[in-house]
């Protein structure tokens, strides 16, 4: 048996997700620059000197306009703030909170029969077992709570009910806005309204 290998830690850029050294080939090097400056200054020596130059220029302007040390510090502070703001945006994007939404999908089986799958009802605090009973009663068809591929529960209703089911959901549960309901058509997510 071979010796146990220790997993290596790789620095990934939080902006473009590539390992930091590949940022320069990434989709948007410019956006990565502030992050790189802060987290991996050693990788791109050019970048650091570039940034220093920019800072110097800013400082130069300030010095000529006003007096010495204090303005210098302000200059550098002003220089760093925008960097941080840029950083926050992409980070926030990645972590973006999942809005509760209902996804309705039609799956065709046996060529001419279909099943309508409804995902995400539980996110609105709806009990799935009760909901499936209501679906069954309303549409006079089989409706069951099914465990999705990875522990997510969904309701399967027999028949093609994509359009009818939207009205039924908004009528039955008033806390569900119509704008939170989506269809999946040809593998794409389409809002149910409009």
């Amino acid at each position: 048996m071979a010796e146990k290998l220790q997993p290596l830690k790789v620095l990934y850029c939080s902006v473009c997700s590539l390992p930091a050294e590949y940022c320069e080939f990434g989709p948007d090097f410019e956006k990565c620059k502030p992050w790189l400056l802060k987290n991996a200054p050693g990788l791109y020596p050019d970048l650091v000197s570039e940034a220093e130059k920019a800072a110097e220029q800013l400082q130069g302007v300030n010095i000529s306009g006003e007096k010495g040390d204090t303005s210098k510090r302000q200059g550098s502070a002003a220089n760093f703030q925008p960097d941080e703001e840029v950083k926050k945006l992409p980070g926030g994007k990645v972590k973006k909170k999942e809005k509760p939404e209902i996804i309705i999908e039609k799956v065709i089986r046996n060529k001419r029969k279909c099943v309508t799958m409804i995902k995400g009802l539980d996110l609105f605090g709806i009990k799935l077992s009760e909901a499936s009973k209501k679906f069954g009663k309303k549409f006079a068809s089989g409706a069951s709570v099914v465990k999705g591929p990875t522990e997510k529960e969904q309701i399967d209703v027999q028949g093609d009910l994509m359009l009818d089911i939207v009205d039924f959901i908004t009528e039955t549960w008033e806390n569900v806005p119509e704008s939170a309901i989506f269809f999946i058509e040809d593998g794409r997510k389409v809002p149910a309204v409009g």
Binding site: A2, E3, L5, V10, Y22, F25, T150
Partner: protein
């Protein structure tokens, strides 16, 4: 291959039975002997092993919703790049020169001249149809995983055309799929 891969391409995800699981572990251990000791950490026996079938006969080995390995049809299992970055020594390495990086990262297959030029390097033991890690000149980490089309010796002597098929590269669809759900 994974250029436009999304979760929607996964047609089914199944928890596989123990015998299949054993087979997968075995073939991974055979392919990457250095990884054998770590297999228990990567694929714990207690955690269900999920195999996700995707289009084009691609299978993904998924543990705890994280894709770890993939293969095509019954081909050899290949680690995802995130895994390879953690254990860089498990695969044979090819290196491409700097000029080739941007093409490889756009999904291009690896041409022989990029491997034989001064910036590139080859592992002469590699035979045809073997998975290899593609490194890059001046970089520490792998940027792609390839599948050789001809033995390393031929790559050196013929020095023309496609030497390695690009299977999986940085920032492709599989790279972006960190978690499956």
């Amino acid at each position: 291959m994974f250029r436009k891969f999304t979760q929607e391409e996964i047609s089914s995800q199944n928890q596989v039975k123990a015998s299949v699981q054993r087979k997968i572990r075995q073939s991974i251990a055979e392919e990457y002997p250095d990884l054998e000791a770590n297999l228990e950490d990567l694929i714990p026996k207690k955690v269900p092993l999920i195999v996700a079938k995707c289009q084009n006969h691609i299978n993904l080995v998924v543990v705890n919703n994280v894709p770890l390995f993939f293969n095509i049809r019954d081909g050899p299992y290949m680690p995802t790049l995130r895994l390879l970055h953690q254990y860089p020594s498990i695969m044979k390495k090819f290196q491409v020169d700097r000029g080739a990086i941007k093409f490889v990262l756009a999904g291009a297959n690896i041409m022989c001249p990029g491997l034989t030029s001064p910036g590139g390097s080859l592992d002469d033991e590699v035979l045809a149809e073997a998975p290899v890690a593609i490194m890059a000149e001046g970089k520490e980490h792998a940027l792609a995983i390839g599948f050789t089309k001809m033995p390393a010796k031929d790559i050196r002597s013929i020095n023309k055309g496609i030497g390695v098929d690009n299977m999986h590269y940085l920032n492709d669809g599989l790279w972006k799929t960190v978690h499956l759900d």
